[in-house]
């Protein structure tokens, strides 16, 4: 079975294969959120949220609307500053002190719910721009595309199955293709941690299945945090599931484990 195969590959990876350049994951975890609180006009979007994600893990985060899933991603990527609590990437990188581009540069990639790509650039150019490089003004002005970069882009084009579309404008792609292009752009950044906000929303069943395969193949080499509403999809791919409710963690564990949790049943199904 493909799923079992993927899990085997994943556990093999976490035995020492995990890429850790720049980020200190010597204690096994790549992301630490501790007692994080964020409120907007009195509404507590995150309320004392504590969450740890291990390097190489594929973590799914589920929860009803307003549970704080997107706010959590905003805190990790520097878009929102927490009112209280700490957010660390690896042992030493304090995410609350860095700007969005700096966080992206340390190795956290984020995919938005609505595909966010450069519509007036070709698929190839989208990947070229995302590629890990010196992203300051002068080096960007002088940047030339070498064969290493072209090979890397070609590899990712194969991964996201968009090689035939390389020279098409990204705005002309189908919705599912745009989702994949955005994931490809994240991969070009060579991140350690990928945050994916509803990555299969609006995809056909076939595309969803291929996405599941892709994410399973990525786990181990990368750490993935996936926010998703599609429970079948979550059940298929997740190592561990975190259930958020009203800004804090309600339950955490395997899918079977959280599905049996009384509080989770109450929140999701109503009493």
């Amino acid at each position: 079975m493909a799923g079992g195969d993927a899990i085997a590959r994943r556990s093999g990876a976490s035995d020492g294969h995990v890429v850790t350049k720049g980020v200190d994951t010597s204690h096994g975890a790549i992301l630490y959120l501790e007692s994080v609180s964020v409120s907007f006009d009195g509404f507590k979007a995150l309320n004392d949220l504590t969450l740890t994600v291990d390097a190489g893990e594929l973590r799914c985060v589920i929860g009803p609307n307003g549970a704080g899933k997107t706010t959590m991603m905003d805190v990790i990527t520097g878009k929102t500053r927490p009112d209280a609590g700490t957010a660390f990437f690896g042992q030493s990188i304090d995410l609350t002190r860095l700007s969005e581009p700096e966080i992206a540069d340390t190795g956290i990639g984020r995919k938005f719910q609505k595909p966010t790509i450069f519509t007036d650039h070709t698929v190839f150019e989208n990947l070229e721009l995302a590629r890990k490089a010196d992203k300051r003004v002068w080096p960007t002005l002088r940047a030339k595309l070498d064969s290493v970069a072209r090979d890397r882009i070609a590899t990712i084009l194969e991964t996201i199955k968009l090689a035939p579309e390389a020279d098409r404008l990204a705005g002309l792609l189908s919705h599912g293709q745009k989702q994949w292009l955005e994931i490809g752009m994240l991969l070009m950044q060579e991140p350690q941690l990928l945050l994916l906000d509803e990555p299969v929303a609006g995809m056909t069943d076939d595309e969803t299945m291929r996405s599941a395969e892709l994410f399973e193949s990525l786990a181990g080499d990368y750490t993935l945090i996936v926010v998703e509403h599609d429970m079948d999809f979550v059940a298929r791919i997740a190592d561990r599931v975190t259930v958020l409710h009203e800004g804090h963690v309600l339950a955490e564990g395997s899918m079977q484990h959280v599905q049996k949790n009384e509080q989770v049943i109450e929140v999701f199904l109503g009493r």
């Binding site: 992206a104 070229e128 003004v137 960007t140 940047a143 595309l145 064969s147 072209r150 194969e158 020279d167």
Partner: protein, 372 residues
Amino acid sequence: MATAFVPGSVTHGGGALPRLWSGRAWALMGIAALILFVIVPVGNILVPAGSIFHVSDYTVTLAGKIMCYAIVALAMDLIWGYTGILSLGHGLFFALGGYAMGMYLMRSIGHDGVYKSDLPDFMVFLDWKTYPWYWSFTDHFWYAALLVVLVPGILAFVFGFFAFRSRIKGVYFSIITQALTYAFMLLFFRNDTGFGGNNGFTDFKRILGFPITAPGTRVVLFMITGAALIGFLFLGRAIVTSKLGRVLTAIRDAETRVMFSGYNPVYFKLFVWTLSAVICGIAGALYVPQVGIINPSEMSPANSIEIAIWTAVGGRGTLIGPVIGAAVVNLAKSFFTQALPEYWLYMLGLLFILVTLYLPRGIAGLWTRKNQ
């Protein structure tokens, strides 16, 4: 990663990046150079006035003036067309460049003013005895030339730094730039500011020792302006075909993605904004000796809006389009303001509406549509 990399997919897998110029563009550039540097100078100076091949002084000055506007439109295209930031204050940078050059031209009048004084006439009129400190060294051409670049550049850099860092965008940015140019206009209208008040600078006599109205001087200024226009077209094209240019367009289309890709948009915006302002300043400095006057009305909000109209009419994000737009609108303007002066503003408004409705990609869009 567990993907099969197909060797050779690099070649057939696409990945063409934009070229500097197509063969056709090179040819057009050659024709433009021929007209600028051979046909017009010969037609103006060597061909006698009666001949149909004679190019009149009026034509040379008008063409020189329009090329200055074209440079401004090109600068506008970099910031608006490519980066998506609509400035409604670009007339300010143009005027500041013009004033910097104007200071040198005023000093070059020497004792030939009405009052035969060391000081420009307007200072004598105000009963000033010495030049204010900020007029120091402006009698040196190269210092004035430095001011042409530095004054608009530093103002744009400082203003842009705070505006972009505060993430001021869209219509808010446009309104603030509009207010900025308006504030400077009011400042320059004041006699105490030391720039000639509402009359500004005029009655220039010479530039670098050459009489400023002589046909030879005019033709040389015309050719320098043409060379600057072509030079800025090359520079603009080099920028927009670079990776930096692609980042600028990416900022226009999806700024958050740019940020989350690891680029800090603030510095990219600041780069193109400052460059655009400097180009406007240079255009202003070329404009003043040819037109013979600079006054605060160049900073009026309406002037800056007109720059945006030239750019939109010509076609945003094409570089050559705004150059054509500036030429078309200003030729129409010089025709209408002579033939039907009261109706020019209506014509301009109508033109803008028609282009917005039927040619959303401007005049340049006609050409690209035919090619697709």
